[in-house]
Symmetry: C2
Subunit: 881 residues, 2 copies
Amino acid sequence: MQKYTYFFGNNQADGNIKMKHLLGGKGAGLAEMTNLGIPVPPGFTISTEVCTYYYKNHSYPQGLKEEVGEQLKKLEEVMGKQFGSDESPLLVSVRSGARVSMPGMMDTILNLGLNDNAVKGISKATGDERFAYDSYRRFIQMFGNVVLGIEHDEFEKLIQKIKDRKGIKEDTEITADDWKQLIPEYKNLIKEKTGTEFPALPEDQLWKSIDAVFMSWDNQRAKDYRRINNIPDDWGTAVNVQVMVFGNMGENSGTGVAFTRNPATGENLFYGEYLPNAQGEDVVAGIRTPRPISKAQKRDASEISLEEAMPNIYRELLEIRNKLESHFRDMQDIEFTIEKGKLWLLQTRTGKRTALASVKSAVDMANEGLITKEEAVLRVSPKDIDQLLHPMIDPSAEITVIAKGLPASPGAASGKVVFKAEDAVNAESKKVILVRHETSPEDVAGMHSAQGVLTAKGGMTSHAAVVARGMGKPCVVGCEMLNIDYSNKLFTAGDYTIKEGDIITIDGASGNVIIGDTPKIEAAISGEFNTLMKWVDEFRTIGVRANADTKKDAETARKFGAEGIGLARTEHMFFGEDRIPIVREMILSDTKEERKRALEKILPMQRSDFEDLFRAMDGYPVIIRTLDPPLHEFLPKEEGAIQELATNMGVSVEKIKEKVAQLSELNPMMGHRGCRLGIAYPEITEMQARAIFEAACNVAKEGVKILPEVMIPLVGIKKELEYQKKIVVETAKMVMEEKGNQIKYLVGTMIELPRAALTADEIAEEAEFFSFGTNDLTQTTFGFSRDDVGKFLPDYIKQGILQDDPFQTIDIKGVGKLMKMTIELGRKTRPEIEIGICGEHGGDPRSVEFCYKAGMNYVSCSPYRVPIARLSAAQAVLKRQ
Amino acid sequence: MQKYTYFFGNNQADGNIKMKHLLGGKGAGLAEMTNLGIPVPPGFTISTEVCTYYYKNHSYPQGLKEEVGEQLKKLEEVMGKQFGSDESPLLVSVRSGARVSMPGMMDTILNLGLNDNAVKGISKATGDERFAYDSYRRFIQMFGNVVLGIEHDEFEKLIQKIKDRKGIKEDTEITADDWKQLIPEYKNLIKEKTGTEFPALPEDQLWKSIDAVFMSWDNQRAKDYRRINNIPDDWGTAVNVQVMVFGNMGENSGTGVAFTRNPATGENLFYGEYLPNAQGEDVVAGIRTPRPISKAQKRDASEISLEEAMPNIYRELLEIRNKLESHFRDMQDIEFTIEKGKLWLLQTRTGKRTALASVKSAVDMANEGLITKEEAVLRVSPKDIDQLLHPMIDPSAEITVIAKGLPASPGAASGKVVFKAEDAVNAESKKVILVRHETSPEDVAGMHSAQGVLTAKGGMTSHAAVVARGMGKPCVVGCEMLNIDYSNKLFTAGDYTIKEGDIITIDGASGNVIIGDTPKIEAAISGEFNTLMKWVDEFRTIGVRANADTKKDAETARKFGAEGIGLARTEHMFFGEDRIPIVREMILSDTKEERKRALEKILPMQRSDFEDLFRAMDGYPVIIRTLDPPLHEFLPKEEGAIQELATNMGVSVEKIKEKVAQLSELNPMMGHRGCRLGIAYPEITEMQARAIFEAACNVAKEGVKILPEVMIPLVGIKKELEYQKKIVVETAKMVMEEKGNQIKYLVGTMIELPRAALTADEIAEEAEFFSFGTNDLTQTTFGFSRDDVGKFLPDYIKQGILQDDPFQTIDIKGVGKLMKMTIELGRKTRPEIEIGICGEHGGDPRSVEFCYKAGMNYVSCSPYRVPIARLSAAQAVLKRQ
């Protein structure tokens, strides 16, 4: 018979860490810790298969009820307690636990098992009546909210009544009798709202809670989270039923969260926070600001660390930390509770960390011998590298710091202040900073839309901090100087008042909150980063180039390790203020002669641009693409601009309007652009070729090693390339004769049309290299206009018609098939042909892996994505081994 | 050593009819006739290889000069005459002759060999001094014009001077002495215009003429002709040097052109025209209206036929005609000259014929046993069938005939009168009729642009008649009632004056010229046509369906032999005056409920449309495609229409404008359309499916045999089809339950995106049939927007970058490769899957051949092209055998 539940307790568990797919991350971690002899409150895990079954059949599999009953009996035996007993009642928690962590997305029930009888038992067992009844009302409240869907506020209102009646302010001032009185009121509320009684039987409570947890797999925020994080809907969640331990049983109790290394910096130091006399939820919810666990971690002398408050517990925890790190060979994120001087571990999982920490800990662990270099390279996610390269505030900038909080997620971000997640989602420009007291799972979409997040409360492990780090968003938390006034849409910080719409900057590295926008510079790259990238390049087998149109881009790219330019878009150079009038003159020419005159003016500008690129890429190849976009993109669209152009050029407004109209197209993406322009106006290609080879000859004379590659865009027919290549080759010959030197160069083409891919064998007769233009190739293969796809693509992904946005990650089945075909056909004709990619996909990790597997020579991407591409390329090799 | 020249004469020739690629059509025909013992003036052919060599190397191959010299010597021996002799001088013609006939496109020189000496020899030999000097001055004039590029007019002016001086009007009144006097003036003109003397040496004359003929291969009108007729530029022309015979040596001389059968009707009767005492060019140029060759052919009693004028010659010609037809087994078009009672054949070639003649003669010849049925089917070109199906004037229409000419090319055409070819080319609407005295090769582009051609002069074999027949354009020639006044841009016919821009109709079947536009009906289909199509269907192995959206279309299609509907575009039904307001209501709906209400109003209309289609196609399958175009296509664009819609719908103008703007797209071809609409608005698909199955059930109850196939457009991802199919299947089930009957149906998809082709194996898991949408597939494979391609595609074809317009003929290398891939992948998943094509290409003969070879089940095209597709499909089978 199939097994649906897995017990853990008494140093022995049915499961282990390898069973995450069945037990979820939490359940597998609890099982593994139990097997390692670490103190874990006993419990059992209902497997993810039950969830999957539940969603498929809208019922539980046969035998489950019985199995759970047996597990509960086992728990009672192990603990020597009974459910509902007025002597020694058994209380449990019910928690979700998916294969990967989805923090706060699904439901949790604590203190389950309490009823009018059991509360007496707890009271007796703990000798703390107030605690017992507080726990009981907490349970009713949580059950009412999570299982029965009654608003939290409804319960809070009843508490407020007590406070009002007694003229008190804090929950802590409420007495045991007050709580006792409250309980029937809570039960009445439930009766009133749901028409049914609050269930007194623990088994009823349990099954309703299990139902609720499984149901929560499909709530909107969990679905959103899965979509954002690419988690398949059919994985399902496990449910963990575990004996309760209490951190809120007095001063020798407490609860905390810790990382085996610093999750912000990666430093090899035990790092965590705890709250004395508190339940675990208090830490995560960010309502109270927690204390550091170690002395080393203290920010000021007045703080009392766990190390000082409970030195034995701290020592025990440190031993567990060492055991976990050497066992899991990675940084762990643990939850613990101290119940009356006894330490319990409630969770262990791989710790989420900043990019900085990810790189540092990976390199450190490799150096410590804990992991291999290969593992270190595989352990850093390309997303981390992306985050690491986020801009920082320019240290030389004059800034006005108006508040300081905890630096929860690195990077600097500026934007208009908004106070509601939905305002962030709906903001016209996404340049907003979300400011909240604290965040909750409901805010995730808003956080995703915002540039950064600032909270007044909470610690480094609060919801805001964890989620922002995961998203790679700058985040400052626990900024207690902030007084937020939601209703008037403003906050004050000292003398400053910041209203909604005002611009602020947050620095996730320092915790600073700054007024206005600030100049930013790219992140300073650490020694560990360089070490890692050195290892990366040892494993990597394909080249990484950059898409760069300017000297600055090219220099940045080279600094990030680019081995050449994979795409220089000559038209980007056309938009300069000093150039666009001449470009327009060229476009408006009526005759070839007029056009040639205008082109002669553009020539020296292009030449000087190319000289800059060649110099920046000394020793590396530079691919320059001839003119690509439709000409009307360069023409003015608005009345004023048209008038100005007419005056400047001494032609009539009508003439310009006529030309603009004449050049306009119904489907410009598939219109008169790319090499089709060069074929209609060979003089443009000729000018560009001349600029390239004059630049090449000039720079070669300076001693710069150059490898120019001229790329013809949008070729679909061999003869297009043949005709354009002829112009390039003839011009090159002429220029080299004029300049008196010889330069090796290649002429090749973009592969960005299905027809080019399908006839790559023919095209390779002319092309000396191929470069995949995967943006256009995706557009034409799918028949998706990238400009218009917003009308249906998001819905396609939501409905599961597509798993990924094909403009972000190569569609391997369709577009990828064409690419593989191209490579095969191209190499059949010309075995040594150089093949790369220069679409946006060149910086996407999964796409880079595809390119490597498909046998390309290199990928090319934007300068900031070069390190990502390098890492992805190395990981692709290692994953294959 | 390579042989470049091929002699013919004395009943023996170096070449034969199979050597057209080397000798050209004319040369091969002359050789073959010589071998058959038919009297042909001796000569030799310089092969097309020389032309190819000449264009490649800009010089003649080594040894050619010597070879030509030897051939000339042989000619002198055979004829017993010498070049330049004042006793018996040898005169030759130099003519071009490509593999296929390019009538009048290239240059011809006659009377070559004449100089001051030889003219005396001719005078002596013929005893006709006037003839000798007239011939001499003709030669100088032709040489001056063709070889030296001097305007014809310059020479004519000198003749006019003589006439003015002598007060005469006709050339015939000019005496031998006048011609003698004119010759030095002609020579002076040449000296003056070119700076060199007119060459006296026949060998100089010959080589300059050969040069000129080879050069004329590349003149603009020849290039245009080749482009229009798909003749490769690298075929080259041969040059024929042939001894002159003279049809203008008195009343026992003459020249003519004849067809072995009637080229207009196909009737098995010898048919031709001749001019007594004339040179061949006079017939072709259409300057004099020629006489019939047979008595049977006479139009009125006053005409004297060749049969009456020279009965012996006629009898000899008739024998040759019979010999040629039984030898070539096809209708021949011959040229002959009678020199002083001796008959010479100057050309034989396969006769161009009307569609009617093509079908009739093919069927007749098969019935006569001259050819097989297979040959008959192969002999009729699909273009002929197209022509045959051109509309005719409705016999019941009241028409005003203002003139009558020769019915040179069938079909009726109406349009505005223009008098210049370039006006036809530049006309905004191409609905023009080109009216000329006569046409010349310079007019070909204009004829191509016009709907039809009307000339005042010329016969059935004049330039206008031959070219128009080739183009399948209606044409009336020799309409001598017309008085054309080019300078005032009008013509008169009796009492009628027709100005430029007035509308006339010409009837190429009757020769009628009619005032104004007239109602037309499709061609009456002949018995031979039906016989042929019966044979066609015997050989054909793939199905032919029609694209039809209306009852009328469906009925027409069925009449033309369609075996079902391959594409019914449901959106075409949306544009009806009574429907578009409801469609707009549907589009402007803000909620699903509003949209559903509008859809409910559309439902009965669509249902009734579908009922009509099912009834018309009783027993055959009907493919109905769900909504395809972007919704904004249905919305009004102009201010007035928007205002009206707003008033009708009771919403604000702004709301409508907003919606129009919201629905507009940058690249609508690749935007929110096709199944993407059905996925966004499943209620649309649901309504359409309901309409289809309600119609199916209703009509089935009438006893009609129906085979509905529901086609989902623009699928690129399997899940798109899966989702849409689910709606169709569920709706079908519901409707069939409601209606209480069961109907077999298929759900399938268009293959019109590269991704669909690439993943056809996956898509076939859902699709029960595939139908290639080759229009969109061509757009996306090439990245060519059909709406914008006019900016560069004509130039691409002109420059030879593309051989054919890929929107007319399937691009086999690219688009075809995707199609073959689709078929292979689709059949791998679902071996019995039905595969067809419903793009424009389904009626293009070469594309039909491709579809047959690729293994499709059927092609589908517009109703009028159904017979073309049937014929093409049969020919594809026969060509393969």
